[in-house]
Amino acid sequence: MPDEEKRDIWSTLEHIDRRILYWILAAIVVFTLLVPIGLPLKVSPRTNDFYHVLEKIPDGKAMVFSIDATVETWPENGPGAVAIAKYIVSRHFKTIIWGFFPDAALLGEKYIVPIFKEAGLKYGEDYVFAGFFPGGETTVARLTTDIQGVIKKDFYGNLIENLPMMKNIKSAKDIALVIDIDGTNGTEFYIRHWKPAGVPVISTVVGVIISGYLPFLGSGQLSGMLMGIKGNAEFEKLTNHVGKGMSAMDMLSLAQTALIILIMIGNIALIRHWLRRG
């Protein structure tokens, strides 16, 4: 039999049915859910920096909590969003919650608004939930100069101008910070329009768009960033609001270890193939 046709373990591994790989990954995820190991987690300097930005804002200031995540990205963004919301309620900030993707309306209502309610905060005085607005960047840009011109009613149908908190909040000048829960590149809109208006922007972003924001972090246009599910879990640990982020850390460690092993197997098989061919 010619060399090319001989199938050893390495050739078999190189041409493995992808469904076996899928099952390996699924098994790792199920195992870590059913048997929590509690692998260690250290809080990174980047998460500390994010926290310090929040810490520096004086109590009682107004801030924007923008939900630009979707249901698909919520498993990664959500834990951080919840932990940040819990931190906000402890600091008595005046918070406007809104978003520019359709899912923002119901994600906000299901996961974020209850945190404010349970903390005993008064709707209309301590927080306002404005829901979702189409128009993406155009809407974000417009809000810097005329918040009440864009948002006429909140999610529940109340006129914005009648809510006590909104009497002193008309434009970006009245906002101390923008926190963006970003699964869809929404932070970039804030960097382009709100940061030039003098409002610092911090964001929890999903892994797939982190690298796109690194240049903005380096230039100071983005004041802080939680990086993916790991950053979210670190923030939970830092603020003692342990939740779903921490529970995903075992999975992340084991799944990525499996991936590293597979990549090495693939490359060893390739090197062996080269050496055989001489």
Binding site: P40, S44, V71, E72, K230, L259, L270
Partner: protein
Amino acid sequence: MSTIRSREIALAILTVSAVLVLAGYYLNIEGLKSLAKDLQSWAIVIAAFALGLGAVNLVSFHSMHIIRRTEHQWYLSALLLLSFAVTLITGLLLTPAHPVFKWIFAYVLAPLALALYSTLGFFIFSAAYRALRIRTYESSILLLCALVAIIASAPVYEAIWSGFATLGQWFNDVPGTAGGRALYLGVAIGTVIFGLRTIFWYERSQLGGE
């Protein structure tokens, strides 16, 4: 009539809107700023109407399949239109804040969206295995940086040796940032040039031209 039908009117609207938005920002004239704000508000309203266009296209495409009884498709199209109708009617008659509409979002739309996006986890696992190989110089750089990022983002390795996190952060902050900045600058230059070409009518493809 041919003047009204010509593409030049649409292009003129495009140019005027773009110039007004830019002028409203760069020039400190109150009237211009107000006009730019109004234009942006109008664009937001029109964007909401544009979503309706997508819905009309969807309904007509799938209705055609049902009418023609397309094999292996017509019953799926019927299911799609039924889901669309139920969601739309519930939302319009009962409002988006109603528990029934929220139920549809939470237990139909959300799990389906989650499931379809989750499958990318499987794909990336198998794609990384097959694609991250040291075939060429560039692919080796890609592999090295990907491995560093993967190791740095796995919490257990940072706990074993803090150097992994430091190395990962260096790769993010230096070569990663440099490459990203180069890309951003290239895209920025391209965006400005394309925008100016659109304003001066050299690019007409967005309005159905060549």
